[in-house]
Amino acid sequence: MKTYLGELEELVLLTVTTLGDNAYGVSIQQELESRCGRNISIGALHSTITRLEEKGLLTSWVGGATAERGGRSKRFYDITQAGKITLTETKQLRDQLWDLSKVKLASR
């Protein structure tokens, strides 16, 4: 079955991969804010993450506690194999569309 990705889902998935071992709630949110200029609430972010987990594109585990979080643990996220395939498929689809598209950007 083909899995479709929403725009925000795609962004979150890509951000998780760029963050590598340090992908958890706050770091993902800050990365999204600094790199994409998207200021999204923590509720929206976790909803997206939850949906990605349901689709089997993300996996998570509970990490150690840190003092600055009031002794609470972090939940880290990583992309799954299915996630990688979906991302690649999405990119290929976009590339095909770009190639066919009449839009020629000035920089090209």
Partner: protein
């Protein structure tokens, strides 16, 4: 770093998430807060924190996590049938295991619920009132609210001219039915006459109301003059069969009626009460000369059947207009109002057609039922919580294994509901036992149908469930809220006893209430005894009063005097002590005064041993023209006449000049609660209605047979109606006897409930302190000392409740009893002492029966088991 995230937001978040695992989210929130706190102001950071909390609370993430959340490994959030089955099983096992307490609770609740069942079944009866009429929804009766000056009275009846106006002028009314309830008399029969009563009714009575016909044509029957419709049972009573169409019955002084139809016996749940219906046209016009007037209300009822779907507004406007036209120039103002058929029986109106059960009566009864029910519920609550210690381990374990609050709550509520349903069975048995007695106490006893129907059965069960919820709510909440660690360590006992204050207060209140009941029993009892032995100032023993009926007084006197058992005989118009008729008396020069009067013959004073203190008796031969009267002392005092010149004074009584020939010593001519006032004896043979026969009481049966035989010679179709005077007097105190019975019964219930509650508490204490007692015994304490030690707390409670009970009783006595005008018995110190002694004796027996048993237990048996 002093700043911390807003506590309230954290609490809100934790509460909202409940059991869901959100540790990482809380971490994220806090981390962000501290990050913001460094870069921005604290207030701003807090604002962001709140924002984020809300965004999370409404997010899909939390919803998903909550859905997956489970309180424990074996827990499940949905209530399934098997779970409820399990609750039931556990409840039954628990109830069986603690049989003794279950028995106590069941007894207490059954007693408490029995009175409420009476109320419910009464309500069930009243609420189905007149629900069998096909047109019931469109039938209204017109009631009259009459006001004259400050006096206002609501009549169920209304002027009959209104009916005529309505059927002429108001076209939206489909039918107008006139009913006059004054039909009644004695059906003349060969051997003895049979009384009958019923209504004069219009011919459409049968079509408007649904009283099914058995045979005959009711339409004709109620249109023709002097034609009558009987009910099935009346026909059987009069003729022994229901095949009576075409026969005639003759009523004494009223002529004959032809039977044209027979009705089936109608159900009891109606406000109509009749044995026969007579066509309205046969209503004797002379019976009441002003029956056509707008100011005559008595015994006349109007029912209106409106067209289907017709609103009452039009009729009301019409009535308003009519009132204005009719009562424009009169001092009496009348408002006509509509009353739907099914509300007639509960409305508080004067001169009602049939029995009525006012809502106010229900409220009073409801309060009494609650006063009995609530202590019983409270006992259950009390005993359950007190036993928390025993069950805390079970609760702790359940919680540790993952049982949620709501599940524990459900489990305990189930237990209570099961107990209440068992109690309902007991209550039903009690209900059936007291039902007959209760019915006989009510005035309208014959019409009250308290049999258990499907509706009342359902109401009973609903009531039991509600009672269960009421009694079980507090313990269930308490158990569900226990901390599992404390519960497992058996530390809850301290917390359970923190509620001791309330529990003590409630126990005290229960016993205070019981104390009041005991006191009222004592006071009512004395009141009744005083009345029974009341000295009226005349002889009431061994006197038989004989109703003269239609027989000539002189004949009766002559015939009865021949009997050997009769010592003396006199004639009178009534019996003193029961009632006396009133008249206006004028002195020649002064204004009129009201007096009570009794017509007697010359033997009466001697017969009843009334004492003449001046003057002489009436002359032996009574003539039809009255000339003399005998007055009482009070009459002289009130009219300021000196006893020596009282004789021969002339007064005008009922337009006759009467001369005082004697003065009689004061005596109670009316019931003892009415003070002695002006009283005269008159001598007029035409007013005599009864013979007072002084008999030899040693052979009651022989006396009555002899009198019966002489009576047969005098009258051929009437039965001898004779009764002992003293019995008649005692009967007039029936209301006190009923009060005595009621107070006694309610008191019994209240006391049993309190005793059961106390017993439960004492048993519990004795059980929990059994080890302590054993150690004390080993160390040398005496059985008496231990009994005292265990009973001390409860004795204190008893003391308090008596103290409060005394205050309560005095308050009730002052506010209620002194307002009853005819109240004689006083609340004395002796009553209080006796009441207190009874209560102490009962309480002491209960307490010591348990504590002494514990004190006697063998320490070796109880101590070795640990």
């Amino acid at each position: 770093m002093k700043s911390s995230p807003p506590k309230l937001a954290q609490k809100l978040f934790d509460w909202y998430c409940g059991l869901a695992k959100v540790d990482d989210l809380r971490g994220d929130l806090d981390e962000m807060f501290f990050h913001h706190a460094k870069t921005r102001s604290i207030t701003h950071a807090r604002y962001i924190y709140w924002n984020q909390v809300f965004s999370l609370m409404f997010s899909y993430a939390i919803r998903k996590r909550k859905r997956n959340a489970q309180p424990g490994a074996y827990a499940s959030n949905n209530i399934s049938f098997s779970m409820i089955k399990n609750y039931l099983k556990v409840a039954l096992r628990n109830l069986y295991q603690y049989r003794y307490f279950t028995l106590l609770n069941v007894f207490g609740l059954a007693i408490g619920m029995s009175i409420s069942l009476l109320l419910i079944s009464m309500y069930g009866y009243v609420s189905t009132s007149d629900n069998f009429h096909d047109n019931g929804d469109n039938i209204y009766t017109i009631i009259s609210k009459r006001s004259e000056g400050f006096e206002e009275r609501h009549f169920a009846s209304s002027p009959i001219v209104l009916a005529n106006r309505l059927s002429d002028e108001f076209s939206q009314a489909k039918e107008v039915v006139r009913i006059n309830s004054s039909f009644g008399g004695e059906v003349i029969r060969e051997r003895e006459n049979i009384p009958i009563h019923g209504y004069f009714a219009d011919h459409n009575f049968i079509t408007v109301f649904s009283f099914p016909t058995l045979s005959g044509n009711t339409r004709i029957a109620l249109s023709k003059p002097n034609s009558i419709v009987l009910t099935e049972s009346t026909a059987r009573k009069l003729f022994g069969s229901i095949d009576v169409i075409g026969k005639t019955i003759e009523l004494k002084d009223q002529g004959t009626y032809e039977i044209n139809a027979v009705l089936k016996d109608y159900p009891k749940n109606t406000h109509f009460r009749f044995e026969a219906l007579v066509s309205y046209v046969s209503l004797p016009a002379i019976q009441n000369p002003n029956i056509e007037q707008w100011t005559e209300y008595r015994d006349q009822y109007i029912y209106v059947l409106l067209n289907d779907g017709e609103h009452t507004n039009n009729l009301e406007t019409y009535l308003r207009q009519l009132e204005k036209d009719v009562y424009n120039n009169s001092t009496v103002k009348v408002n006509f109002d509509l009353l739907p058929l099914d509300q007639i029986i509960t409305s508080d109106v004067y001169n009602a057609l049939g029995p009525k059960w006012e809502t106010s009566g229900f409220v009073v009864f409801g309060v009494i039922a609650l006063l009995i029910l609530l202590p019983a519920c409270f006992n259950y609550t009390n005993i359950s919580i007190a036993r928390a210690l025993k069950r805390s381990k079970e609760i702790g374990l359940r919680k540790t294994m993952g049982s949620g609050k709501s599940q524990l709550f459900l489990q305990f509520i189930t237990e209570t509901v099961v107990i209440c349903l068992i109690s309902l069975l007991g209550a039903c048995v009690l209900f059936i036992l007291i039902r007959g007695e209760f019915q006989s106490m009510m005035v309208e006893a014959s019409v009250l149908d308290l049999s258990i129907t499907l509706k009342t059965a359902i109401l009973f069960i609903v009531f039991a469930l509600v009672t269960g919820l009421m009694a079980g709510l507090f313990p269930a909440l308490y158990f569900a809220g226990l901390n599992p660690i404390e519960a497992l360590k058996s530390k809850v006992s301290y917390r359970a006893f923190s509620g001791m204050g309330i529990r003590k207060a409630l126990t005290i209140f229960q016993f205070a209430l019981s104390f009041c009941f005991i006191l009222s029993l004592i006071v009512f009892g004395r009141q009744y005894r005083t009345l029974i032995n009341f000295d009226f100032g005349f002889q009431k023993e061994n006197i038989v009063t004989v109703d003269l009926q239609e027989v000539k007084p002189e004949l009766v006197k002559a015939e009865f005097s021949k009997l050997s058992v009769v010592q003396s005989i006199s004639l009178s118009s009534g019996s003193p002590g029961l009632s006396a008729s009133r008249a206006w008396i004028h002195s020649v020069e002064k204004d009129s005064v009201e007096v009570s009067q009794l017509f007697i013959d010359s033997d009466f004073l001697k017969n009843l041993k009334l004492q003449l203190i001046a003057g002489k008796n009436f002359p032996e031969t009574s003539s039809s023209d009255e000339r003399f009267m005998i007055v009482n002392e009070e009459f002289l005092i009130n009219n300021k006449i000196a006893p020596e010149d009282a004789l021969d004074k002339v007064f005008l009584v009922d337009k006759q000049e009467l001369q005082i020939i004697g003065v009689v010593k004061n005596f109670y001519y009316a019931p003892p609660q009415i003070p002695i006032g002006n009283f005269i004896f008159r001598n007029n043979a035409s007013a005599f209605t009864q013979a007072n026969v002084l008999v030899d009481a040693s052979d009651v049966f022989g006396t009555f047979t002899a009198m019966e035989n002489s009576w047969q010679k005098l009258s051929n179709n009437a039965k001898l109606e004779a009764a002992f005077y003293q019995d008649e007097l005692n009967e007039s105190y029936e209301v006190y006897r009923l009060l005595l019975k009621m107070a006694g019964f309610l008191g019994l219930l209240a006391i049993s409930i309190s005793i059961l509650g106390l017993l439960g508490m004492v048993v519990y204490t004795a059980e929990t302190r059994v080890k302590e007692v054993s150690i004390r015994k080993v160390l040398g304490a005496s059985a008496f000392g231990i009994t005292l030690l265990l009973s001390k707390d409860y004795l204190k409670l008893l003391g308090w409740s008596i103290a409060i009970g005394i205050l309560l009783a005095i308050a009730i006595y002052e506010t209620v009893f002194t307002k009853i005008p005819d109240y004689h018995a006083n609340l004395t110190v002796l009553d209080i002492v006796v009441g207190a002694l009874v209560l102490i004796a009962l309480g002491l027996t209960t307490i010591t029966s348990q504590t002494y048993k514990t004190a006697l237990s063998n320490p070796a048996d109880t101590l070795k088991s640990e």
